[in-house]
Symmetry: C2
Subunit: 337 residues, 2 copies
Amino acid sequence: MSIKSKITLVERLQEKFEIAQKSTLAGTGEAAAVITCNDHIRKLICSDMLLEGIHFNLVYDPLKHLGYRLVTAGVSKIAAMNGLAMQILVSVAVSSRFSDENLETLFDGIRTACVDFKLDLAGFDLFTSLTGMTLTITAIGEVAEDAVSYSSGAKVNDLICVSGDLGAAYMGLLLLERERRVFETNPQIQPKLEGYDYILQRRLKPLARTDIVESLKEAGIRPTSMRVLTDGLSSEMLHICRQSGIGARIYLEKIPIAAETFKICEEMNFDAVTAAMNGGDDYELLFTLPIAEYDKIKSKSGFNLIGHITEARKGRFLITPEGEEIELTTLVFLKAE
Amino acid sequence: MSIKSKITLVERLQEKFEIAQKSTLAGTGEAAAVITCNDHIRKLICSDMLLEGIHFNLVYDPLKHLGYRLVTAGVSKIAAMNGLAMQILVSVAVSSRFSDENLETLFDGIRTACVDFKLDLAGFDLFTSLTGMTLTITAIGEVAEDAVSYSSGAKVNDLICVSGDLGAAYMGLLLLERERRVFETNPQIQPKLEGYDYILQRRLKPLARTDIVESLKEAGIRPTSMRVLTDGLSSEMLHICRQSGIGARIYLEKIPIAAETFKICEEMNFDAVTAAMNGGDDYELLFTLPIAEYDKIKSKSGFNLIGHITEARKGRFLITPEGEEIELTTLVFLKAE
């Protein structure tokens, strides 16, 4: 299913449902549901799924990293609402070829992530699968009632920021896929993965940017909108544009790309900006904030100013150093297919 | 994986995790996580998964019913903690052979259940699957802080009750499987499903017993322990026994079995008590309460007294009318395999 037809279908399905409970403050269209708790706190609850053959390949995704990545996926969605996750529920469906030791390795990764992100495993279940492996996570977090960031709050003239650097996870995937194909053609040739530590780590064991949420809180900033970059910068920016009814201009030379990512892009003859804009799975945060707030974070590490919000009629563009305007698209590369 | 080895593995994995957050009141080992919210309310959050070929078969599970059943699965787990669900999050992974119309039918069932159980769909996502269909649900509910039922609270001399009748869902499955095999052997022979409405409805479109939770509340009763009967009465009773450190005596002639279930059991030469004890997927509630409380509900419909709690050393038994003691086992039949 293309992302575009998926968006249309999701919106059509969504329209048929009405919100009846007072405690439901937001849900579909956001990274996590926002639920009333008490006068000061909102509960944030999200779920995510990792499917074998789509999101991971057991040929090169070590089980321990995979467990860690599952937690990152859940925690990142809570972070995208400007909250911190506190509990997770995990379900694992595996075929009988999985040994208990395999499952223990997977849960070692989950436990490591729980320690790193101060999370409680508050429920888990194991299922038998007749086909591939499926992992699901529910993450539960909190945010102060006046600090929730929705995807619908971006305003004209707001600045657009991203954390970290982009495109590394996608290039890590391309590298792993290249070496897998070489190995499958000739099992005598060992995969060449040395010297690619950074991009491999970004793909195999990505981190949730809870530190960014904490930095924003320290700085007293509530982003006017926020998303986690799982489907690529372009797709997530367009989501904010649709939800907020605004336009955007992102400046190509401002997009943060690591030296290691440029290096592998050159080696594989792949455009680094395309990897950053459409690659996905970086788990970095994309957010907007009023110009007046920017001074509070510009000296902090991990924040990159990449563009600004415009009126909707001005469109959604990537601007090249030569001033060329390239329309943002929802193009998303296939994951591990 | 056998249920027994699954329990051992789950417990071993569980031991490695520590609870660090103050807001986590209960999690693994219970049907739902119990999370602090305010002084009076606890949030209950659970997740569940339905896998093609394990929990359903698209040959005979209509998509609309399947959507409904997914919601029942989530809402029932919240009910098992003596709470009522208010929001759900749904994820659906399907292969490209699924049309948009198929997905709309599935979501029609989800919507019907949302209306029946007064739920908001507070988030959903669609995924591409390379293999079978996978459905996941996260259900979010509430319960008063002094009304949560855990599986660990059963006391010696408590009475054991179940709602509704048992074994019908399993016999519905056996009937569907029989007709599927006949049809696959000779596609000219149409499935004979007329006259089996009750057991088919119990299998295909089971209801969550939120009415029981409401009745208990009206009667001012907080069950000392509660479970939802997805893995069969025997398995769920043993879970309460392990968690509460007690024994149990269930009286065979007290087990509620519908006339329709007896009829199909006779026809298929299958033991009705076995279907009730080990069949599963009835989504009825099993609970314990102090003897003194029983008068408050004994005249209400839907409640069946089936046994009582003993000291752990007295074991866990099914008692026949002849006084024979049959040890409860975790035997669970394979689902749709």
